[in-house]
């Protein structure tokens, strides 16, 4: 990483810490803010957070590894998560999954070459009555069909 980039990241984290507080309990909101902006929390960022909150880097990593929606590895600009729980499965998740994979040319767990989309499975999104469901970044889409899912994907920048 370039030194300049590091410094701007440090500044950003310092701002977040000032905003959310120096306590351990501020860790999660800080991580969420970084995740939202950068789509992942780099090892440098993790250590800066640890330094500013006066905790240990491994504690930050522990929290990130616990939550499926926090990442320590670079991801695509958008994250698409298809629900794989049983009701969505019964409502036709498989066909949607295949269509998505074909459209993007990647399998679940991978990121497109142009870094546009990372594809993942999620467990129950709480949309069991409206399955199959998926979320794109923060937005939920329900009653998916293969065509509908592909159209949604094509609109993502």
């Amino acid at each position: 990483m370039l030194l300049l980039e590091k410094n701007s990241l440090t500044e950003e984290i310092e701002e977040l810490v000032n905003l959310m507080g120096h306590e351990r309990s501020s860790l999660l909101p800080i991580l969420q803010a970084l995740q939202r902006k950068h789509k992942y929390i780099s090892d440098f960022a993790q250590q800066e957070i640890a330094r500013l909150l006066d905790i240990h880097p491994v504690e930050v990593y522990s929290v990130i590894s616990f939550y499926a929606f926090l990442h320590s590895e670079p991801h695509g600009r958008n994250i698409v998560r298809l629900c794989q729980t049983i009701t969505c499965d019964m409502a036709g998740k498989d066909a949607v999954a295949k269509a998505i994979e074909r459209e993007l040319g990647i399998t679940f767990g991978q990121t497109t070459k142009d870094k546009r989309i990372t594809l993942e499975y999620a467990n129950c999104l709480g949309m069991c009555d409206q399955g199959p469901a998926m979320i794109v970044n923060d937005r939920v889409y329900t009653h998916l069909t293969p065509e509908k899912a592909v159209n949604i994907l094509n609109e993502i920048k």
Binding site: D43, Q47, V58, Y61, F66
Partner: protein
Amino acid sequence: MESSKDNLRAPVSQKPHVIEKPKDTSGIGGMITVEINEKKITVPLGTTILEACNDNQIHIPTLCHHSDLCIAGVCRICVVEVEGMRTLQAACAFPITAPLKIKTSTPMVRKARRHILDLMLSEHYGECYSCFRNQNCELQALAKEYGVDEYTFGHVNTPRYEVDRSSASVIRDMNKCILCKRCVRTCIDLQEVGVLEAINRGHETHIGTFLDKPLADVICINCGQCINRCPTSALRANDPSDEIWAAIDDPTKHVVIQTAPSPRAGIGEEFGLEPGHSLTGEMNTALRRIGFDRVFDTNFTADLTIMEEGTELLNRLKKVIVDKDTTVKLPQFTSCSPGWVKFIEHFYPEYLDYLSTAKSPQQMFGAVIKTFYAQETGIDPKDIVSVALMPCSAKKFECNRPEMRDSGFKDVDYGLTTRELAKMIKEAGIYLPEMPKSHFDEPFGDASGAGLIFGATGGVMEAALRTVYELVTGREVPFTNLNIEPCRGFDGIKQASVLLENCKDEYSFLEGVEVKFIVAHGTANAKKVMELLRKGLLSDVHFVEIMACPGGCIGGGGQPIPTSEEIRKKRAEAIYAEDESLTLRKSHENPHVQYIYEKFLTEGPCSHKSHELLHTHYTKRGRFIA
């Protein structure tokens, strides 16, 4: 000296659930009577069920609980029935605040415990007979206690994790881990290093490092405290005994061993003795029977360390007081604990000038053996294999430091721990407590009691004061029987002072100076001292002793398992008793030390030659993990 951060350290869920016990237990509400297994027991309010049972000879199994650590309540093996509660309760995490009825052995309790064990064993890879904790394993002992004779929930047959052998000191085999998190609490709370945490969740949970990097690539100070508290063999030290056997069996090699003060006070425990039995003489004989060619006492170089470090302190004081040299740093910090040295290199690299440049006794001896000893005996240093028996896992890292080759060879070839030596002794068919006693070998002979007490926290300070005070004033330190009590005991941070009066002419600049010193053990306490230094609050302090391990070396990461404050106290008592029984109790009076300054280091302590061989430099490591 508590820092305000103490309250924030552990998440609430990890804090002891103990309710502050009432100071006055005589009044109403001070004591409370519960019924455990139909027996009435009266305890102070806030006592946990586990403590109440322990005090009343009722056995409760535990795994995640450890007397040195905060309560976790994660393993659930200690569950008991509490009348009126829907579910079983963890005895270790349940403070008694009401007159409860508790049952510790009911069908439900036994079944739950057995299931918990079976579930642990279902993911526990490995066999006991190929395991270093065989017969000293808390999981194995419980499996026996609960009569496990089959794997109710199956058993893994293939390892899930690669064994991490990257570190010179600690080997991690997560296939044997039961996720009790004792290591996590040790490293974060006792040591403030924070290497380990639980990574991932659910079935994927394992104890890991930052980004799951190999241990050698993260900031671990090699103290081995996590090993001493692990209930299984998931953590163990890097054992060099095969290499040492090979050297012993090689007739062309001259194998010498130096033995530190703490192993002799602890090794009896490996042979079933109560803690607190010193086996110095017995161990010397056993070492010779195993096949070591010479057995030396590290206390000799502990005495040498005192001469070098004490002289360095006097030099610093002179430079500050007489020469008004502002580049010289005070207080001077001790440098004999390699865990502490690595800690300061990582966390306080800007303060390395405060650290004494004197090597640790182990490394001084290494340098002396392959130079002075080789010269005196006419043995080619390349044929010498130098082993160091240490209570410490960090010593394994220390002897592999690239700068520790001042003799022209690797100064110390292997660091061997107390546990590993006990294993070698057993392998040689020797029952240690029955060995006849014998002395250490010349030309280093028996050392002083000052060197001996290096093993307990405060010992280096006490030894240094005995010498420095006498060098400066010509009189013995003004403490009964040379026992400098303020240095002793197990408070995390101790502080005291000694007034220098009627000094000798050459030390007249110290007339009336009150030498202030601080003693701390466990790097969490070291961190507190360093924060005081950073705030400029130590400007009137002259000398600081720091040991990385709680209790000092007697509680080192290579000492027999288990450990507790009580055990460490007994080991320390053994050392202090042995010191008191010796006639030679001051480092500067050690005739062998005087001899080496006459014959070899002829320009005296802190001279050019001693700087070459007995002093070192440090690396600014910093805390960034690349």
